[in-house]
């Protein structure tokens, strides 16, 4: 990995106001970035400046303030398009979230293309966001709903693919680029090539990947890719869907109303051009601007530097947890793992683990992480998950381990 300028967390931490909140004289050890990231001043300042000096509704106003607002909104679209290496900005649709982006595809593409005799294929470690919409649309359309199984380490069993394709019925494959529960980096390029051999499209959930590694929709060879702003230092309430133009053009709209029309009559309505066909209603304008500022912030740090930083922290965390024979870490080896460590403490429920860690000023996630089928496969009800981002430091891993000793002492 080429890391020309490595990431300096000590410097970056000054950008994050949340670290100014002290508990017991120390800042919070926030180890829940896979759930949502904290926000740097650069993003917050940009959004405030936008609201103070550039705000109006977009696309319609003729006055200059509306032009500036539109420019801010559309320039954020340009930033997202560049970020995922989209061939055209018209292929980038702002949505409320990754979840809404996938629902858009499931409804607008799925209802039109799926029926009895077709199969929807997802993975056993899929986040519910790329699972439940497809399960629902499959049930609505009469399509079969099947999954790519995982092995005990939480890696997809690709040798099961050809068996799944035996009846030639697969029409859509849904797969996450990085598992939010285990950190598994899935071989999406390979699955995309395979899906296309089946005549299927592939829908990639990149919510957990986009903050941490470079995304290139063209290199991945996917048909749709969804991401969220809030997981990469941006505001909540905004995400994006990238889709191949031919597919987006033939799809019916998902939400209908203002902005997505070309003309409306009592007997007939014609839809607007891409991407506006899929952006009914007033969008989250300042949030889109904040999304763009967040992408600028993390690309300024450098995605390869971020990846390397998280890799080192993950290596350190796994080594420290490995010292504790009463802690079991789930998931793949370090080489195929993003900055996520899911584990269980023998005999202690994850909610109790997280509760005690909170009293030690360590924030982790406890639960099924919106991946109940995966939890079932692992044979656990829930796990405790620590996850990292640009502001995470090794000392916080030490605080996690110290907290786990307290957990062991009190409940283990």
């Amino acid at each position: 990995m080429n890391t020309a300028s490595p990431l300096d967390s000590a410097v970056l931490r000054a950008d994050f106001p949340y670290l100014e909140e002290l508990a017991g004289g120390r800042p919070l050890a926030y180890l829940d970035s896979a759930s949502s990231t904290q926000k740097p001043r650069q993003v917050l300042d940009r959004m405030r400046a936008f609201y103070e000096h550039e705000y109006a509704n977009v696309h319609r106003g003729v006055y200059r303030l509306a032009e500036r607002a539109t420019e801010g909104y559309e320039s954020a679209r340009h930033t997202v398009a560049t970020f995922v290496n989209a061939p055209s900005e018209r292929e980038v649709i702002f949505t409320r979230s990754t979840t809404e982006a996938i629902n858009l595809v499931a409804y607008a593409w799925g209802l039109q293309h799926l029926g009895p005799g077709d199969t929807v294929l997802i993975t056993e470690l899929e986040h519910h966001a790329n699972f439940v919409p497809w399960q629902f649309i499959a049930s609505r359309t009469g399509a079969a709903f099947r999954h790519i199984p995982i092995d005990d380490a939480g890696e997809l069993q690709l040798d099961a693919l050809d068996g799944l394709a035996r009846d030639n019925s697969i029409k859509v494959v849904g797969v996450g680029l990085v598992s939010n529960s285990l950190g598994t980096i899935n071989p999406v390029e390979q699955i995309a090539a395979w899906a296309h051999e089946q005549g299927a499209i592939i829908v990639v959930d990149a919510a957990q990947a986009a903050p941490h590694r470079s995304i290139d929709v063209q290199a991945l060879g996917c048909d749709f890719l969804a991401l969220s702003s809030h997981k990469l230092c941006g505001p909540t309430g905004i995400g994006a869907l990238w889709g191949r133009r031919e597919l987006l053009e033939e799809m019916a709209p998902f939400n209908l109303g203002g902005e997505m029309i070309r003309s409306v009559g009592l007997d007939k309505t014609t839809f607007n051009e891409l991407p506006y066909k899929f952006e009914a209603g007033t969008p989250a304008i300042a949030e889109a601007v904040g999304f763009g500022a967040a992408i600028d912030y993390i690309t300024g740090i450098g995605l390869s530097a971020i990846e390397e930083h998280e890799h080192e922290l993950t290596r350190y965390a796994m080594a420290r947890l490995d010292e504790l024979d009463w802690v079991r870490v789930f998931g793949p080896p370090l080489e195929r793992r993003a900055g996520i460590v899911s584990f269980e403490v023998a005999g202690v429920h994850p909610h109790d683990v997280a509760q005690i860690l909170d009293w030690e000023g360590v924030a982790v996630r406890a639960g099924h992480h919106c991946t109940q089928p995966l939890m079932t496969r692992l044979g656990v009800a829930a796990t405790t998950r620590a996850s990292f981002y640009v502001y995470s430091i090794a000392e916080e891993v030490d605080r996690l381990v110290a907290g786990l000793h307290k957990v062991k002492e009190s409940l283990g």
Binding site: R60, A252, S263, T269
Partner: protein, 144 residues
């Protein structure tokens, strides 16, 4: 020069108040209509060809802002006597130079509406390429 005078140049107001080539040709070889969803401008453009797909006459009707109607009027003067194939790939800058006023992105859509509609008409009748934003079969819903 005031901002008003910069945008509503005399030539713009002249075309707006006295549009050239006004009215739908009957009969015609090609016709299309289009709207600008942003401000509701509407334009219908019709074309009659001479030999070799040369645009012999062109006529338009519309309803909308001064920029959209004046720009379409100026366009009709520009395209007469030229071939369908040539106009299909006519660059927007050619019309914008003729209009000769600074236009924001929103007003640009007004100014280019007529050109897009004309290219749609040529496409339907002569199979010439469509401009990118009009190439979308974005679809529609109809009710009875």
């Amino acid at each position: 020069m005031s901002e008003f005078e910069q945008m509503y140049r005399e030539v713009i107001l002249d075309h707006y108040k006295m549009p050239r080539n006004h009215g739908i040709l009957d009969p015609n070889d090609a016709v299309a209509e289009g709207q600008n969803p942003l401000c509701g401008d509407e334009v219908t453009v019709s074309v009659r060809f001479g030999e070799g797909d040369i645009i012999e006459s062109v006529g338009f009707e519309g309803r909308g802002c001064a920029i959209s109607q004046a720009a379409t009027s100026m366009l009709t003067d520009l395209v007469k006597g030229r071939s369908a194939q040539e106009i299909a790939v006519m660059r927007k800058e050619e019309l914008l130079d003729e209009i000769g006023i600074p236009l924001s992105p929103v007003r640009l859509k007004c100014a280019l509406l007529g050109m897009g509609v004309l290219k749609v008409a040529l496409h339907r009748s002569r199979g010439t390429p469509l401009p990118e934003e009009w190439g979308t079969s974005s679809g529609e819903i109809s009710v009875n």
